[in-house]
Subunit: 223 residues, 2 copies
DNA sequence: TTGACAACATACCGAGTAGTATGTTGAACT
DNA sequence: AGTTCAACATACTACTCGGTATGTTGTCAA
């Protein structure tokens, strides 16, 4: 698998921890707070002071690490997409038919939508902001890279379902339209799932299974 | 079919035209502009001045008809939902199995998402705003009524798919989860469809058919 | 003809917000 | 002990936006 050079690593801000490069601790806390805030109120309605308040800090801390609100948002976007790549990477190499590969990837992806929901909602809103052109020219460049990053992720799934169709295991028409339908279905917990108190991991898996089953049938698996 | 008393008609603002009660002309223009603006930039990022500018007017005109930005938004929400009810009403009375009824309703609904897209995106965002609690206490009452209005609409579809399942024509687990998946799929053109120049009605119907087919398979039709 | 009123436009205010400029502090380095 | 600097906090500014108060105009009834 080719390396993904779409986003330059920020070496000076990352350090090796447990074999995985994670962001600086303080920045990670800012990212979490920003993701939660953007999810709760949306980008436009979230103020930098809101994010800082939820951290028990002030604006100074955030503007020390990020040059603007848009850059902070873009970094949450990037972090969310990196989580997605990291999640599906381990299940991409298992041998077997494309349909089975798709089911593994789809299950991991859907679970990811639930587990890292704040980040994934930012990813969703980021796509909408880009498509609406609600960005400054400079930020548009970075957003374009993030969109490319996200489109590559989508292309991975598209290749798998096209392969499954060629193998006779799926049936659908336009791959572009079908990719949209597939992702909207798999991502849908972003909009209607809310964590219940005392919810077990098994409960989540039941939901994930229903989402994946619905989408699999939609793709014409075993039809 | 029982009357829907959820929203009080505003008799003084509606007049009979062609057998259908439509809003006042000036208000309708404001609604159209507001829907387009809210779709293009989102609720929070849209200013009343934006809406007025797109009308070639000023704020005064809008505040003469609506007491607040939230009320304008709510009225777009209401208008969008009324369009949906009006669209599916004619196809609800045709006799036949529930699965066939569902397909007619789903087709009309999906086409509606494309044709009245600005209003339907406001409906979508309105649901999110309500769920996030991003409303003032007074507006929360009106939003709650609109949500009830929308949930009733969803219940119509849910009853149909449950009936189809009892008839052995559909297969799915939790009706609540399935209703969410169904609507996310049917509504998905809101997010990825963009009208092409020179696009015919037939092109739209091809897309609608793919969306409905995907969703029908997801519901386990004919499986 | 003239009041009255609907349908706006104009002018203005206060609150909130992105971004900046500057102060503070603890720790590392020499 | 003194210097430096990252990592913040504080104070401030310019600007936008929701909402209001008020002015203007065309129309229509009496």
């Amino acid at each position: 698998m080719a390396a993904r050079p779409h986003l330059a690593e920020r070496e000076e801000e990352a350090r090796a921890v447990g074999g995985m490069s994670v962001a600086d601790g303080s920045r990670a806390a800012i990212l979490d707070a920003a993701a939660a805030c953007f999810m709760a109120k949306g980008y436009a309605a979230s103020s930098i002071d809101d994010v800082a308040r939820s951290l028990g800090s002030t604006k100074g801390r955030i503007y020390h690490h990020y040059p603007s609100k848009g850059d902070l948002f873009a970094d949450v976007f990037r972090a969310g997409m990196e989580m997605n790549y990291a999640a599906i990477e381990p299940v991409r190499d298992i041998a077997g038919p494309a349909a089975a590969l798709w089911r593994r990837m789809a299950t991991v992806h859907t679970r990811q939508m639930i587990v890292t929901r704040p980040y994934q909602r930012v990813v969703w809103e980021g796509v909408e902001l880009y498509l609406r052109g609600a960005t400054t020219p400079e930020q548009r460049e970075e957003f374009a890279r993030l969109m490319q990053y996200r489109n590559d992720y989508g292309a991975i799934f598209r290749q798998v379902i096209v392969a499954a169709r060629e193998a006779g295991d799926m049936r659908f028409d336009d791959p572009r339209v079908t990719e949209q339908l597939m992702f909207v279905s798999l991502n849908s917990p972003l909009f209607w799932y809310t964590p219940r108190p005392g919810e077990s991991e098994h409960d989540v898996e039941v939901i994930v299974a229903q989402v994946v089953d619905f989408t699999a049938r939609g793709l014409g698996i075993g039809a």
